[in-house]
Symmetry: C2
Subunit: 250 residues, 2 copies
DNA sequence: CGATGGATTGAACACTCTCAATACTGGTGG
DNA sequence: CCACCAGTATTGAGAGTGTTCAATCCATCG
């Protein structure tokens, strides 16, 4: 189960579903069951808080919960015995993680910044899903999205230069946070995290940032905030394969 | 005759199908419906053949079919306008492709070797799945597996040296073809394909192969077949993160 | 039996990584 | 309030590795 479905821009689905605001279902006995499960879900869910760099769960831990990140940023990483680390993805506020079915966590999760999340026992979720065709039809939409996302990142790691990787990363982050042109982009993660996410050395990340700054595509008021002044240029760099360069200048 | 013909055939198939020739679904008589769907599926499926390098479908084509590869090997690739190409994965005989729900193909597919496959209209599959809980329970298992696989490859591309990437690739190929120790591994794809899959230059692939040969881990009777003489060493190289080095010497 | 395209190897180069040094920053304690 | 400290950010220089360019070999095919 695990891995992160961080691509979950499907907020509407998850929100409604976790908060029990679903419209009543018309099939014979479904409503009762559904409400029962929702109650159970609510009863067993718990809100938790983590400090920066605190571990939420480790690689290989039993994957018995689904999490919804309320605030803060989480990183999902895999590491090899010799210390190399790869950050599969960052999970932002509003995203779900742990949706992927799998007996134990395929990646570790730890807090990048202060994190608040709600954990739901997987069994409850499963029952809820089973008992309700509507939910069933919606939840699995996350997977295809994550898979597409992963494939795109494979493309990036396989073919792109540091500058392009960074642009890719920034563009996606901006899109995920509904950033409007010129607004400040919050970068909760450190440079090392970015490096491990993009398959680069930290210094290379700094240099890529410097290059983008010099070219005028971005500016950096602080280490943890950027202004993407030229989204158009960034999108061109972050070659989005066939939907390439669909550039909408401000 | 190649592409246009096949595309045309595709079209007509799906057209006919989507024009509502299907029996309506009634929950009551599921068995009947199921059989009906199976019949429909059979009627609209078609067996097709492709020569090496022939295109099966292109990136962005409407994704209206699910394919089962009967024989041969297919490569799924994404490419950027400037010619860089990444091979997401190879599809081997017996594998399914096109299961991912998505309006249009996120990657192009073309034949590596001579390929025979059967295509099923997606809509048929969807109805079949909907109408049968057993099938429904099975089909979606593919996705989590693919996602895990993709995440593992991200790790490989992000953190591993050419030698390690090659080892990873070979080990997986061996595992997928149920290769027993010492047996010949068939490598249907060319060196360039391997390079594009591993995010390396062709020459680097040659050199990685040379290194593995010199270390005695593999030997190469021909360009398209290898003998993995030391699977153990290969698995150690192909650091499989937490299940690392689960080495079972012959 | 040339020819074309893939496989293979060599050498030079470019780029990223590594190592190392310096500058910030927030937090702590005097 | 300021000095200090630890961790992170940033920049520089050199080394190593993968890429690029170029040449050769080999096999399949007309």
């Amino acid at each position: 189960m695990p891995i992160s479905l961080s691509a979950a821009r499907n907020e509407s689905t998850s929100d409604r579903f976790t908060r029990g605001r679903l419209a009543p279902i018309r099939t014979a006995d479904a409503p009762v069951t559904l409400n029962g499960h929702l109650r159970t879900l609510h009863r067993f869910s718990s809100r938790r808080h983590f400090r920066p760099n605190e571990t939420i769960f480790g690689e290989g831990d039993p994957a018995d919960c689904v999490y919804k990140v309320i605030s803060g940023t989480v990183r999902l990483c895999r590491s090899s015995p010799d210390g190399r680390r790869h950050i599969i993805d960052f999970v932002l506020a509003g995203d779900l993680m742990g949706l992927l079915e799998c007996p134990d966590q395929p990646a570790a999760a730890d807090a990048v910044s202060d994190v608040t999340l709600i954990s739901y026992p997987r069994a409850c979720i499963d029952r809820l899903v089973e008992s309700n065709p509507e939910i069933r039809a919606r939840v699995p939409r996350h997977l295809p999205a994550s898979l597409l996302q992963a494939q795109h990142r494979l493309f990036v790691l396989g073919c792109h230069s540091p500058k392009e990787r960074l642009a890719s990363f920034l563009v996606r982050l901006a899109d995920r946070t509904d950033l409007t042109q010129g607004e400040r982009l919050d970068l909760p993660m450190g440079r090392q995290d970015i490096a491990d996410h993009l398959g680069l050395a930290v210094e290379t990340v700094y240099r890529a940032i410097a290059v983008l700054k010099n070219s005028g595509a971005i500016s950096a008021p602080g280490a943890h905030e950027l202004i993407l002044s030229d989204m158009c240029a960034l999108r061109v760099l972050a070659i989005e394969s066939r939907e390439a360069a669909r550039c909408i200048p401000s």
